[in-house]
């Protein structure tokens, strides 16, 4: 029983990273209709920026803050410089753009920092806590706390502030929002910035465990895509729940079904996606359609 609970806890801890990345995917999709396949690479860039700052002698927490802000700025620049020129109804072009950004960012990271994995220091220390036989590392607890706090801040900003209302208005219908005096491009840039900041936290939390490398977020991105499908990409709550479910499923399935451990446990995520698509195509919390321009 203790082993099972340990696996559940480990799965939830991993699922938090998927949830954060899936939330970033959902925010961008709602605003611009783009499934941002480069979201994982943007998280990798953030982790490398934080790492580079620590190499330059900057303490880890200021380095993380710099990386999050830099990611937000990068997200806004990518939206303003490229994405805004593609009409939301051109799904093919948006998909191509996502792949292009993924490959481009991956190449840039590889050129600047190389492809060898690097050790990323945990900002939460290296102690281990025991709760009745359950083992939790400081990295797990700190990671959950950081991602949870980030998502909480995002939730408050999105749902409880004037800023959030205007952001939601533009995300739901950019054209309609323009007739209310809202400058859609500016607010959608803010949406991209927020998404990239959340994605950056996911990357920084994943890096100490996964090891910093250009391919570090490839599997988490796949998991996040699965989470977005399961929870419903149109629902911010749904993508978070989807991320946690994927974390649980892959941890439990990988442990108890022989031959499907390690990265092979991704098969459970996609089995779950197929099951949800067959039963509720919009996802467990999703609407049948997303209103956008």
């Amino acid at each position: 029983m203790t082993e099972f609970l340990q696996i559940v806890l480990d799965g939830l801890m991993t699922g938090v990273v998927y949830a954060a990345l899936a939330l970033a995917l959902g925010v961008v999709f709602q605003g611009t209709g783009m499934l941002n396949l480069s979201q994982g690479e943007l998280a990798v860039v953030a982790a490398y920026i934080a790492w580079a700052c620590t190499q330059a002698g900057i303490p880890i927490w200021p380095a993380i803050a710099i990386a999050i802000v830099a990611s937000a700025v990068l997200g806004a620049v990518i939206y303003h410089g490229v994405v805004r020129f593609v009409p939301p109804h051109r799904e093919d072009s948006l998909m191509t753009l996502g792949v292009t950004l993924l490959l481009g960012l991956n190449a840039i990271v590889s050129m600047v920092w190389g492809t060898d994995p690097r050790a990323f220091p945990s900002p939460f220390g290296t102690w281990v806590a025991n709760f009745g036989g359950l083992r939790l590392t400081s990295q797990q607890l700190g990671g959950v706390a950081l991602v949870g706090a980030t998502m909480l801040v995002m939730a408050v900003v999105f749902t409880r502030t004037t800023f959030g209302l205007r952001l939601r208005a533009v995300a739901q219908n950019p054209r309609s929002a323009a007739y209310l005096g809202l400058r859609s491009g500016l607010w959608l840039s803010a949406g991209w910035a927020a998404a990239c900041a959340v994605g950056a936290v996911a990357g920084i939390v994943a890096a100490p465990t996964a090891g910093l490398s250009p391919a570090m977020m490839t599997v988490p991105l796949l998991m996040a895509l699965a989470a977005a499908n399961i929870g419903g990409i149109s629902s911010r709550v749904g993508v978070v729940v989807g991320g946690l479910l994927i974390g649980l499923l892959t941890a439990i399935g990988g442990r108890y079904i022989p031959g499907l451990g390690g990265d092979l446990n991704v098969v459970f995520a996609f089995a779950a996606v197929i099951a949800v698509i067959l039963v509720k195509p919009a996802g467990l919390f999703g609407r049948e359609s997303v209103v956008r321009a």
Partner: protein, 270 residues
């Protein structure tokens, strides 16, 4: 009707909107051609004409959806160079034939977001919640409640807009437009889908708002009887051209308007 002729047939001191040779083509089809007339300050001005006359296209030009030829002035200032969000901030609000609400948001949020047009706090101020931003937000909430109550939907404030019936959606859209405190409110077929009583109440609400604030209403409407009861100034379009402009009585008796649009109905509404 030429621009000069149109100006001669109307005597409008200090118009709120002045259209000067406004035109637009879509793939070679002339949707609007040299439209020139003035919209008087205050009251209700109607734009009427048969289907395909260019009424909604004209609204789209004024609100900045389409880039158009010619010039449009708002209270004496040219606005051709302004984009849609800038025109909204300059005081132009509009509704659509099919209400375009934020279906995921509740009714109050839909009206509240309309207040953005007059709030002055910038993007950063709203993000960090400066004292000025908080003060404006309180004012905005009061304004939104006022207009939501005025359209009779205060009891539905918490309901998702996507769950409303058509008539209520129309009311929410108008409350949102009024919450923008516009100088000119453009209503595109506001009576569509409403009963006679409902549309009369809605138009009366808009008229009262206009009298209280000096707001001008510009109305596209197929219900000729409603137009004749409501409007103090009428422009008639036909096939993208201005057919007539003036007071309701003059327009109603205009032979060209009768031939192109009013027909036998002219007797009914006279």
């Amino acid at each position: 009707m030429s621009a000069a002729a149109a100006r001669e047939t109307q005597a409008v001191p200090a118009p709120i909107v002045r259209l000067n040779e406004v035109g637009i083509s879509f793939r070679g089809v002339r949707a609007l051609d040299g439209i020139s007339f003035d919209v008087p300050q205050g009251g209700v001005t109607a734009v009427i004409g048969p289907n395909g006359a260019g009424k909604t296209t004209l609204f789209n030009c004024i609100s900045g959806i389409y880039r158009h030829e010619g010039e449009i002035e708002l209270a004496g200032s040219p606005i051709r160079h302004l984009r849609a969000h800038q025109r909204a901030s300059a005081g132009i609000a509009r509704t659509f034939q099919t209400p375009t609400l934020l279906d995921d948001e509740d009714v109050f949020a839909n009206v509240l977001v309309g207040t953005h047009a007059w709030t002055t706090t910038g993007f950063t101020g709203v993000l960090i919640g400066t004292p000025r931003a908080r003060r404006e937000e309180r004012e905005a909430r009061d304004v939104a409640w006022h207009h939501l109550t005025a359209v009779g939907l205060a009891s539905l404030a918490d309901r998702p807009a996507g769950a409303l019936a058509h008539a209520d959606r129309r009311r929410v859209e108008i409350a949102r437009a009024l919450a923008a405190q516009p100088r000119i409110l453009m209503l595109d077929e506001p009576a569509a889908g409403l009963s006679g009583t409902e549309s009369d109440e809605l138009i009366e609400l808009v008229r009262e708002q206009g009298q209280a604030t000096g707001m001008t209403s510009l109305l596209v409407e197929h219900d000729v009887a409603l137009v004749m009861r409501t409007a103090s100034w009428i422009a008639v379009l036909d096939a993208g051209k201005l057919l007539a402009v003036g007071e309701p009585r003059a327009v109603r008796e205009n032979p060209a308007v009768i031939a192109a649009y009013l027909g036998a109905d002219a007797e009914v509404v006279a």
